[in-house]
């Protein structure tokens, strides 16, 4: 068993249990004496709740309790929170309406939680939930993002007139107007960034428990950040003191953002467990997931790009209406503001940018972070504008991008971000080579001969990951710091447990983190265990989202390992009877410089615990160190994705023929896992561009509430991807890594749409570009025009 080095494609340690069916997801757990919860949900998008008659439901066999908003209020269970304060242009704080765990007097979207039935069996709970009679006074609904601010639109929350949560801005308005005033050309674009349902394959689950002897609550839940869940449930919702609440997120079947948030269901399960004196389990079905998991995106945007006569960008202005849904979810306010507008500069040197964002309420499910969170929306704006501008100017899209790339670093954009390092020409050049750009014209002709239309689309993306420097995000309104913690426990036998505040729900931390430890400490990867997802084991952590676990979570581990090595050197110095300054650590061995005397890592660990060779007063026994790592900057992964597709004009079906991704993630720990992240991201981005769209009708009913109507990407929709990387190491963290989890989802949508418009011939097409929409667009642009 050798050391596993950073950079090798070592196979995953966690796979053994998953491929044999031995994973332990939350729904796989049953607690002794467990009862089952079923929520009574609003069938209306907007209604007053005039009364709830639960008498007959309570009398049904096996029913333990029916709880409503009145019970929530009686027990002083606090409302759900939004943890990021956004201020409007006029300086006023965002207007957040109440968000009770169970409705109090009003329901605001289809699926809103009205009551919960707790019963001995799931079937009994479901039967009783149907018997709860709710008297609704149905109100008109505000379901349309673009229309919800109208004076006559139904009002979702009293505190937010015109359904406007905030009117936020970023950038220099005057400088941007001045840039437009001297522009030789202005490209304008109206777009909708379509609403998406995250749909991790594992639906959400919560099991609340209460032990009266110790007054300890336990919550097993499908969370990307169990410590944040504990903090919010304790400090804000007030369900239990933090030290009396244990939150465990075991194996979690994907998250993509939707499992960051603290929802009503887990809140109710913990609270109800004490009320009924039984563990309470709730398992979401897919329909509930569609209705109630926080959705993503949903922007209506007008954008303009100003260019000079040589095609150099002078300025960019953007106005976006961002749908936040019926309530502000945990990080909802930050997504269309600080996670969006600061990325509008893309890979380009843009002297002036001004962005306005109105965050709005509607009678729809809450909208929050979904893979990419704000950055896909920003990338879509700038990359569609670049494509259209190139066509309007008669320049090759690739050429226009090249002309405007940021070429020297560090680069301060006009919208907060200071790009630290990158080489955008390098990724473009490599992508052109891999897609065989020179052969494109020939391929287009071949497609045309078959009656098909071929197009190519580029997407130069940048994202801000490694979220985030705590002071910086604090100054922007974040409620918490976004550092990460790690504890490295070395056992007497030399094996190592690493406790991390990051959480793995598919990212392979048990492998990559162990790989890092194996490399640094020079011990076999088999001797390293990664512990995460349990607040009783890991002291605190911020969890996994925003492509942060590599750049921030692993940096914390590095910091803790540095402390372990420093301590171990002291131990080794005593054992080897040398001065501490002469001890070198290399390849898992502590040795006295210039001699052949040395000890293996495991031997030093044993000596640290035996503690015979040094005074316990001079040096503490044991070998265990912790660290909190706060990043100094965001990281800036960037790259070029190229999509080449063919359209069948008879049916409107677009078939992706080739996909090239050249990403710069800085240094890579495990290329196999990184490539896997890129693949998955591309699929979700293609899903947004071609397939997926959550549709509410004018009454606020979700038309796409199951896989029967919501079009998920399938295997036959996608090609094999060509994934390559360029490397400019990130200067702001010890490993030089940038983060890779969201890149594909950020890069892909404009690549697809740009390819479609290339195939169609200058025709704007909205996402999702369904076969029907593509067929219509084909009819409106004859083939010969498209071929030109």
């Amino acid at each position: 068993m050798g050391v596993t080095k950073i950079g090798t494609a070592v196979r995953r340690k966690e796979d053994q249990r998953f491929i044999t069916g031995r994973g332990q997801y939350t729904d796989d757990l049953d607690r002794p004496g467990q009862a089952h919860a079923v929520f009574v949900r609003s069938p209306h998008a907007h209604a007053h709740v005039r009364g709830i008659d639960a008498a007959s439901a309570r009398a049904m066999p096996g029913v333990l309790a029916v709880l409503t908003g009145e019970d929530v209020a009686a027990d002083s269970v606090g409302g759900l929170i939004c943890g990021w304060m956004i201020h409007s242009k006029d300086g006023s704080p965002m207007k957040a309406g109440p968000h009770p765990a169970l409705a109090q007097g009003k329901v605001r979207y289809v699926g809103d939680h009205v009551a919960v039935v707790i019963a001995e069996t799931l079937i009994a709970a479901r039967d009783a939930a149907e018997a709860v009679l709710v008297d609704y006074e149905v109100l008109p609904a505000a379901a349309d993002t673009a229309k919800t601010q109208a004076a006559d639109a139904p009002q979702v929350h009293e505190v937010a007139p015109r359904n406007t949560v905030y009117e936020w801005q970023l950038g220099d308005k005057a400088a941007t107007e001045a840039a437009f005033a001297r522009a030789a050309h202005v490209t304008k674009l109206d777009l909708v960034n379509n609403r998406l349902v995250p749909n991790p394959l594992e639906p959400r689950v919560a099991i609340g428990e209460y032990e009266p002897g110790t007054e300890v609550f336990t919550l097993h839940t499908t969370s990307q950040n169990p410590h944040v869940a504990r903090l919010v449930l304790a400090a804000f919702i007030g369900i239990a003191p933090e030290h009396k609440l244990r939150v465990i997120a075991p194996d979690v079947g994907g998250g993509f953002g939707s499992k960051i948030f603290i929802y009503a269901e887990e809140t109710v399960c913990v609270w109800a467990a004490k009320r009924v004196g039984r563990p309470v389990k709730w398992t979401s079905d897919r329909t509930e997931a569609f209705l109630c998991d926080a959705h993503g995106r949903d922007h209506v945007t007008h954008a303009e790009l100003a260019l000079d006569e040589r095609g150099k960008i002078l300025g960019l202005k953007v106005k976006t209406i961002a749908n936040l849904g019926a309530y502000l979810s945990t990080f909802a306010s930050s997504v269309p503001t600080y996670l969006y507008a600061p990325l509008l500069s893309g890979q380009y040197d843009i002297p002036a940018i001004y962005c306005e964002v109105d965050g709005v309420y509607t009678n729809t499910a809450p909208v929050d972070a979904y893979r990419g969170a704000g950055r896909p929306e920003a990338t879509f704006v700038i990359e569609r504008l670049m494509e259209i501008a190139a066509r309007e100017l008669g320049v090759e899209p690739v050429q226009l991008r090249r002309r405007n790339f940021v070429k020297s670093f560090p680069h301060q954009t006009p919208v907060i971000m200071a790009y630290d390092v990158g080489d955008y020409n390098a990724s473009l050049a490599r992508a052109l080579e891999l897609i065989d750009y020179t052969g494109l014209a020939k391929r287009k002709r071949e497609s045309a001969r078959k009656g098909l239309r071929r197009g190519i689309g580029f997407s130069a993306y940048i994202e801000a990951c490694g979220i985030a420097p705590s002071q910086a995000v604090g100054s922007l309104g974040a409620g918490v710091g976004l550092w990460e913690s790690a504890e490295v426990r070395v056992n007497p036998t030399g094996s190592v447990e690493v406790l991390t505040g990051s959480h793995s729900h598919g990212q392979g931390h048990e492998t990559t983190f162990a790989q890092l430890v194996s490399d640094r400490l020079g011990i076999p990867i088999e001797q390293v265990s990664i512990v995460h997802g349990d607040t009783d084991k890991v002291q605190f952590g911020m969890g996994t989202y925003g492509s942060r676990s590599g750049a921030v979570g692993m940096s914390a581990i590095v910091k803790a390992m540095d402390k372990v090595i420093a301590k171990a050197k002291k131990v080794a110095a005593h054992v080897l009877e040398a001065s501490e300054g002469d001890i070198e650590f290399k390849d898992g061995r502590f040795s006295v410089a210039g001699t052949d005397r040395g000890l293996a890592f495991g031997e030093v660990a044993l000596q640290a615990y035996i503690a015979h060779k040094f005074s316990g007063q001079e040096l503490e026994p044991g070998l265990k160190e912790g660290a909190f790592y706060d990043p100094t900057n965001f990281t800036f992964p960037a790259g070029m994705h190229v999509c080449e597709l063919e359209i069948d004009p008879d049916t409107g079906i677009a078939t992706i023929d080739k996909w090239v991704a050249v990403d710069d993630f800085g240094n890579v720990i495990n290329p196999m896992i990184v490539e896997g992240q890129v693949h998955g991201g591309i699929a979700q981005g293609v899903g947004q561009a071609l397939f997926e769209g959550a549709v509410y009708d004018s009454a606020g009913q979700l038309v796409t509430a199951s896989f029967m109507d919501y079009r998920m990407p399938r295997a036959a929709d996608l090609p094999s991807f060509t994934v390559d990387m360029t490397v400019t190491p990130c200067p702001s963290n010890p490993l030089g890594i940038k983060g890779c989890g969201e890149a594909g989802a950020i890069a892909a949508p404009p690549a697809v749409i740009n390819a479609l418009t290339d195939a169609l011939g200058h025709e704007n097409i909205e996402m999702p570009a369904t076969p029907q929409a593509i067929w219509r667009a084909c009819r409106n642009t004859p083939a010969q025009l498209a071929a030109e």
């Binding site: 031995r22 394959l201 490539e675 896989f707 998920m712 399938r714 295997a715």
Partner: protein, 165 residues
């Protein structure tokens, strides 16, 4: 209540069940075989695929009572004493899984695919045959690679593997 008797992973399994009990509920709740997952309500995601009398079926869309007298194999029954099934090994070797939730259904579907279509599977066939299995993590790229490799490995193991079920 209805008496249900079947063979699961080679062992007899019987129970008196509410007739509403789905095969997946019988496997998960009664036999504690939690490797078979439920990812949707409309029989589309394929996380629940098991083998019934040698064919891949969606265990969320079969009543347990219907399976009386049947041989059922779940992901837990795929490996034998000699080790992992070649398809399981191929998924690990090719990074054909991330969160692991769809994986049991994917592997059971893949093994069934090889039984039906043979060991030499091209990419188009594999992608089309995954019509009934959704994955949100991998973009399918490595699943397709894993299935092609797993099929080859099954060929190398020969007929012995076929007998296992």
């Amino acid at each position: 209540m209805v008496a249900v008797n079947m063979t699961v992973n080679g062992k007899p399994a019987s129970a008196e069940l509410d007739p509403r009990t789905l095969l997946v509920q019988f496997l998960r709740d009664h036999l504690r075989l939690t490797g078979t997952h439920v990812g949707c309500d409309t029989s589309q995601c394929g996380a629940c695929v098991v083998h019934m009398d040698g064919h891949a079926v969606k265990s969320c869309t079969v009543l347990a009572a219907t399976c009386s007298g049947s041989q059922v194999t779940t992901i837990e029954g795929l490996a034998n004493a000699a080790g992992l099934h070649p398809m399981q090994e191929a998924f690990r070797e090719n990074h054909g899984l991330q969160c692991g939730f769809c994986t049991p259904g994917m592997i059971m579907t893949a093994v069934d695919l090889v039984h039906r279509k043979g060991f030499a599977l091209d990419e188009t066939t594999i992608r089309e045959e995954l019509e009934g299995n959704l994955c949100r993590c991998t973009g399918y790229h490595n699943i397709v690679k894993a299935i092609a490799a797993g099929a080859q490995a099954m060929a190398a193991e020969g007929p012995a593997q076929q007998v296992a079920e």
